[in-house]
């Protein structure tokens, strides 16, 4: 095999193109029953009574009392019920399932069920929230001193809105029960998360639960923890009824009630000395967690770790909290707290630059972190930081600085603008999660005939793991990647190699596979079946202390520079993106075309986050809850992205690869905001930057 990065045809390409790939809704389970969810009409209430009509033969209710184990979804905390039939905390919260053979009858039953609520006063606005799921803070240097010495203080607030993953394949799971074993099949990112949740729900042993991932049509974090909820529900139902139970959501249901990106309020305060140097920065972040904790504490952690971006500021104070509101719980979405903070720090730096009369890039240049610098939490940027080279390349391909100057002085109805963002993303799980909680394990199974199979719990949701993992193993063993086997994970057969999240799959699991393959190669015995196991080894880092919020939060970092060029029609405030340029350092790509796909897809998702993906609530309900009203970009809204990769191999990852899955979404929004500011001379402080906001800014100018 050539150099590993050389593009190959994806091994699941054919079945996806010819329509034969089976997603969960495509699979027919014999004798399966349909399930539909009864959901709360109230945002905060006690349930006094549920009046269920007489049910036809073959129709059942599955609810809290049918849960043999703990009626709580196992995520980080155990605060969210599987069936919320005594108390509800958001409109849409699942109360029970109606299960039966005919969907029409199920829906009629649903409409006849009466729930008696005793209402309480809900909290919808995160600014009015009283409870927090998590709080953290950290400091560096002497922030009080810095503000005492300051000649100028620049203070501002930012708001970032919801973002819905909008994967094309709607969430769905099927639970079944056979011979003492409960199985859940479905669209998911983390089979072992679902397995652990089902074990808790059924109060049973490990070998009584089996989870099988089916071909998954997109996840982006939206299928990281939500399948644990619906998976537990169908597992309980299948266990009770001893028949397959099929729960496939409707799009409006999925959009309205599954997890989304946390909205955020970010306050930035910078202290400048008499020479206009930034000597201190105080950041305060509030995330809206929704009604239950889910993954919010970790999202908050990453958000705080990205709060100072790619800058080395001498004195800092960062604190944040994620609060409870009576809305559907928020969760993981590519970037996981990073996009919110990156938008804020990049835009704040641009605003500071404006105040002191220089360009954003001129200001940012003075503070870029360098190789060997400490991170804001007392860790170290041990691996090479190539920001200078990356910005040079970005200038080369986009002509950024010249255009920035030119566009600042334009007149006319169509105003052009160009903007740049510089950002990072920590690779892998935040803190010591990899060592203390995940403890990843991989297996390679070699048959007597020398066929090698990869046994891991990681899932392909479009990002190409089926192909990249095979390439890694094949390259080490000097085989054809198409001869390596890697099936959708089945927990009966694969060890827990950890979740497919946090940009860890290639770097952490891929590395384990590389080591396992090396050991297999060195110990290869012909005509004998062999199993090689490899366990996670934590690299030598400055230990992470979550209480003090101190140490190396991540073993390594990936870096990005984005440039976005826009045209703004000042009559209608509509915008058209006319150029997108990116430079990324992700170590090395395991497959160039697959990496290009991650770049194109992630950057465009970031563009949607910046401009058209507006999602608002009124009285706890979403105003945009259908694929018609929640606006994601179409083919006519985007232009081709010109991208350059800067090689920077890191020995923590296979062949030098680092994390890449989330990085590519993180930078588009601040680059877009910078472009809008360049075009119109306005000050952006919220995303999405809708035409409605732009028009108000134009009129107020």
């Amino acid at each position: 095999m050539d150099d590993i990065r050389k593009s190959v045809i994806k091994t699941d390409h054919k079945i996806k193109v010819d329509g034969s790939a089976k997603y969960i809704a495509d699979i027919k389970f014999k004798n399966s029953l349909h399930a539909k969810t009864l959901r709360s009409e109230k945002a905060k209430a006690m349930i006094k009574n549920i009046i269920i009509p007489e049910l036809k033969d073959g129709y059942y209710i599955v609810q809290g009392k049918d849960v043999p184990g703990l009626n709580k979804v196992k995520v980080i905390q155990n605060d969210m019920p599987i069936f919320s039939d005594t108390e509800v905390n958001y409109i849409g919260e699942p109360i029970l399932l109606v299960v039966g053979p005919e969907l029409k009858e199920i829906i009629e039953i649903l409409n006849e069920i009466k729930v008696e609520y005793e209402e309480d006063i809900p909290v919808f606005d995160m600014r009015e929230a009283k409870d927090a799921f998590a709080k953290y803070e950290y400091e560096k240097g002497n922030i009080k001193d810095a503000f005492k010495k300051a000649s100028r203080v620049i203070e501002e607030k930012f708001y970032t809105g919801y973002q819905e993953q909008a994967y094309l394949e709607i969430q769905g799971v099927v639970g079944s029960y056979e011979d003492g074993k409960t199985s859940v099949y479905g669209s998911m990112q983390c089979p072992y998360y679902v397995k652990n949740a089902v074990i808790q729900a059924l109060g049973c042993s490990e070998d009584e639960v089996r989870i099988v991932q089916t071909t998954t049509g997109g996840g982006f974090g939206g299928k990281e923890d939500y399948p644990s909820l619906i998976g537990s529900q169908v597992a309980v139902a299948a266990y009770k009824l001893k028949k397959p139970v099929r729960l496939i959501l409707e799009r409006i249901e999925d959009m309205s009630y599954s997890t989304k990106r946390h909205p955020a309020l970010l306050k930035y305060k910078s202290a400048l000395d008499e020479h206009d140097n930034i000597i201190g920065m105080d950041v305060d972040i509030t995330l809206d967690g929704g009604a239950y904790a889910t993954l919010s504490s970790v999202v908050l952690q990453r958000s705080l770790l990205c709060a100072i971006g790619v800058y080395n500021i001498p004195n800092i104070k960062v604190n944040g909290k994620v609060v409870k509101t009576n809305t559907p719980p928020n969760g993981a979405f590519r970037g996981f707290g990073g996009p919110q903070s990156t938008f804020a720090i990049e835009t704040h730096m641009a605003h500071v630059a404006n105040e002191i009369k220089c360009t954003p890039l001129e200001l940012k240049n003075k503070y870029f972190v360098k190789t060997g610098d400490n991170t804001s939490t007392g860790g170290k940027f041990s691996y090479d930081v190539k920001l200078e080279e990356m910005i040079e390349k970005a200038e080369e391909i986009s002509d950024f600085s010249d255009k920035y100057k030119k566009y600042s002085n334009e007149k006319g109805i169509i105003k052009k603008g160009i903007g740049m963002s510089i950002f990072l993303h920590g690779c892998g799980f935040t803190g010591s999660g990899e060592r203390d909680f995940i403890k990843a394990k991989v297996k390679l199974l070699k048959s007597k005939d020398g066929i090698v199979e990869i046994l891991v719990a990681n899932t392909d949701m479009g990002q190409g793991l089926h192909t990249t993992f095979k390439k890694i193993v094949a390259k080490v063993l000097d085989k054809n990647y198409e001869d390596i086997i890697y099936k959708n994970p089945d927990t009966d057969r694969v060890p827990d190699s950890g979740p497919t999240a946090a940009s860890r799959s290639i770097m952490v699991v891929g590395k384990l596979l590389e080591r396992a393959a090396l050991r297999l190669k060195e110990n290869w015995i012909e005509r004998q079946e062999q199993i090689i196991e490899e366990n996670y080894k934590h690299p030598d880092l400055i230990p992470w202390d979550i209480e003090k919020f101190n140490g190396d939060a991540y073993p390594s970092y990936s870096w990005g520079v984005n440039v976005v060029e826009v045209e703004v029609n000042t009559i209608t405030a509509s915008t058209q993106v006319t150029g997108i340029y990116s430079v990324f350092d992700i170590g090395i790509p395991i497959d160039e075309t697959i990496m290009e796909g991650q770049i194109q897809g992630g950057v465009i998702q970031g563009l949607g986050y910046a401009s058209c993906e507006n999602m608002e609530r009124k009285d706890g309900r979403l105003k945009q809850h259908s694929i018609t009203d929640y606006i994601i970009p179409t083919s006519k809204d985007v232009v081709n992205i010109k991208n350059v990769l800067v090689d920077n191999p890191c020995d923590l990852g296979p062949f030098g690869a680092k994390g890449a899955g989330e990085l590519t979404l993180v930078g588009t929004a601040p680059a877009y905001a910078d472009a809008i500011e360049n075009a119109l001379g306005v000050k952006v402080n919220k995303i999405p930057i809708t035409p409605e906001w732009i028009m108000e800014a134009i009129v107020n100018e």
């Binding site: 996806k16 193109v17 049509g217 796909g597 194109q600 992630g602 694929i627 179409t634 083919s635």
Partner: protein
Amino acid sequence: MNKTITLKINNKTITTEENSTKRLLDFLREDMDITGPKEGCGEGECGACAVIIDKELVNSCLVTIGSVQEKEITTVEGLRGTKQFDILEKCFAESGAVQCGFCTPGMIMAAHALLSKIPKPTESDVREGISGNLCRCTGYNMIINGILMAAKRGDGLW
């Protein structure tokens, strides 16, 4: 009133006593076990259900089987094995046009419908041709490159 509905799907003539108001998408997926067309939204917005009816791209979630009797209905399963499908498949592979694959059958149908009308499309034509097919993974550009590549290589096929 008709009691029997006659449909032509992927070159086969099918008669059915299903209700004539049944959605074509449901008929294909449940009665015919043709699962290439997918339900992504049920509102005609995402294009994952797109099929070709009498050479036109149509969202099958928005048509009743009664409304498409006597028309030629083609799904991605019906394109398999044709020279045009082979070129599209190869070019989609090279250009990295497929990630999670859920939008892909619809994209293939949109590409085929477009190239059947405009064998040598511009980039703008292609963007227009797939403008009703949503994709969340690829950001569209690699799909567009794949279709333009197929137009070039498939010289004479469309």
